[in-house]
Amino acid sequence: MRSFLILWRRQLSAYLTQSGFYAMSAMFLFVAGSNFRALLSDSFQTPLSLGNLMFDSFYLWLMLLAVITVLAMSLLSEEKRLRTLEAILTAPVTDTSLVLAKYAAAATAFALMCAPLAAYPFLLRAFSLGGDAPDSGLLASGFLGLALVGGYYLAIGLFVSSLTRSQAVAAILIFPVLCLLFFAGVVQPPAAGSLAGAVLAHVPGARHIMDFSRGIIDARPVFHCVSGAAFFLFATVKVVESRHWK
């Protein structure tokens, strides 16, 4: 447990001491904020729910996928490139606690990036003339969707970064894969009609984020995200362990 915490803190401080992290956060908040503002002015004509305002936007989604890619791409690939993986795994640390600590740190960084979004409804209320308090259940559901899909995709990203020693290669693989999975539910996937297409359409993505933002919590995407993340974490541990039998 102690080594998990130490590795988690090390990875988190690696994120937080990089200027890139702040550039990325600024970019993310700029896109999310201007998007929110644009939707807000649209909603004078056609009223939108708060969930739609906050979570249903193509640009926000694209930014989310980019953020997840950037957070995940270097997790294990950089350790492999610097050969520090050998230094870590010859200390009394299990492969599993390394993988879990990396994942937890990425998830923490992701949560930190998304946290300012939670201020939007309160800003809206502070600057509006009266009106009802924001529906907290709706907001919670929206954030739950974000957390579930984000957590699932981070696990996929971590898995990909364990396969290569180049973060560029990891990023080039992660981003298109995540886009494909994410938009498969709302855009015709390449293999539409076939079994693969049908499977793709069920992978939690944009469609489910939209559902969650409307307050619809379906057990199926919840289960899919949690078990999917667990599967990819397990696969990552196996990739790290594979050095023993290669």
């Binding site: 610097l82 520090t84 230094a87 009394p92 290669k246």
Partner: protein, 320 residues
């Protein structure tokens, strides 16, 4: 303290370490000598539990490295090849991270850090960023990391690689100062280093141990003849003839007036059969004939010669 039993590692068709067995006693300093790609790093990675052997086993302090991997890792200080560190971290920050990871108690980390920094000559470098350190200091941070949790066994993979001569000398002294405190296995392809540091050396070639012994014993394995070098003032032709007539002498060379040398003095190289030392005979010969003698020494082969000879031998055996 370290026991390897028929340790073998295959990567596909390539046999990196082939049936290697050895023991290192407590407190001993043993060098692993071999060319690049001889299997040193792979063997060390198996001892530290980073890789599993294809067959065979290894024990550290009586514990199997595969079954009790975490317990073994607690007892080992390992410096991997090239000393991988995080270039963006500060020295203190890195050592603190490593000490915590290796289970040094939170309260003891501070004092332990001071100790290892002093041992490794890093007292004034705590605030420096690792990526800006010179190669020698970089390696010192790696060494400090290896000993930070007070391990019983030190395994150092090419600890002086990439250093300049001054850095090599100071880190060699540093490593030598570890003697007695740790059981140590280190690898190198730099032979004078093994000669300077270790009590025993193993020459590893193509995954097998070609020879093992003290540096002196390894030199003794040299088949070559003994060469006696003498500087004598006397009639050149006569001196050479007389030297050649000494019992046990195989050949005598020199005596020609070398350009640039002091006139009158000639340097002779007398080759004698293995195990023979004709220095005393040369002295009596010179004394009896009234020649002047101002240098008389045996030219010893270096470990380098032993090494080249043994790896070449293994090559021949492999071919035949």
């Amino acid at each position: 303290m370290i026991v390897a039993k028929q340790l073998t590692k295959r990567f596909g068709a390539v046999v990196a370490v082939d049936n290697v067995s050895f023991e290192v006693q407590k407190g001993e300093i043993v060098g692993f000598l071999g060319l690049n790609g001889a299997g040193k790093t792979t063997a060390m990675r198996m001892l530290t539990g980073y890789l599993s052997p294809t067959s065979g086993s290894a024990e550290i302090a009586g514990l199997d490295v595969c079954e009790h991997s975490l317990e073994v890792r607690r007892r080992i200080g390992y410096l991997p090849e090239n000393a991988p560190l995080y270039p963006e971290m500060r020295v203190d920050e890195y050592l603190r991270f490593r000490a915590g990871l290796k289970g040094v108690g939170r309260r003891r980390i501070g004092s332990r850090l001071d100790q290892v920094k002093e041992l490794c000559g890093l007292q004034d470098s705590g605030r420096r960023i690792i990526g800006q350190l010179s190669r020698g200091y970089w390696q010192r941070v790696g060494l400090a990391d290896a000993i930070v949790h007070e391990p019983e066994v030190l395994i150092l993979d090419e600890p002086t690689m990439g250093m300049d001569p001054n850095q090599i000398r100071s880190s060699r002294e540093l490593i030598r100062s570890f003697a007695g405190r740790y059981t140590m296995l280190f690898s190198t392809h730099h032979l004078p280093e093994a000669q300077a540091i270790c009590q025993r050396a193993m020459i590893i070639n193509k995954g097998r141990i070609a020879a093992s012994g003290t540096p002196g014993e390894l030199l003794g394995l040299l088949k070559g003849n003994v060469k006696v070098v003498a500087e004598i003032q006397g009639p050149a032709g006569a001196v050479r003839d007389m030297l050649l007539r000494l019992p046990g002498a195989l050949s005598a060379a020199g005596g020609e007036d070398d350009a640039g040398r002091e006139p009158g003095w000639d340097r002779y190289v007398l080759e004698c059969g293995a195990g023979r030392d004709l220095r005393a005979d040369v002295f009596t010969l010179a004394a009896r004939n009234g020649w002047l003698l101002r240098e008389l020494r045996v030219e010893r082969g270096s470990l380098e010669d032993a090494f080249v000879e043994m790896t070449a031998q293994a090559e021949e055996n492999g071919v035949s």
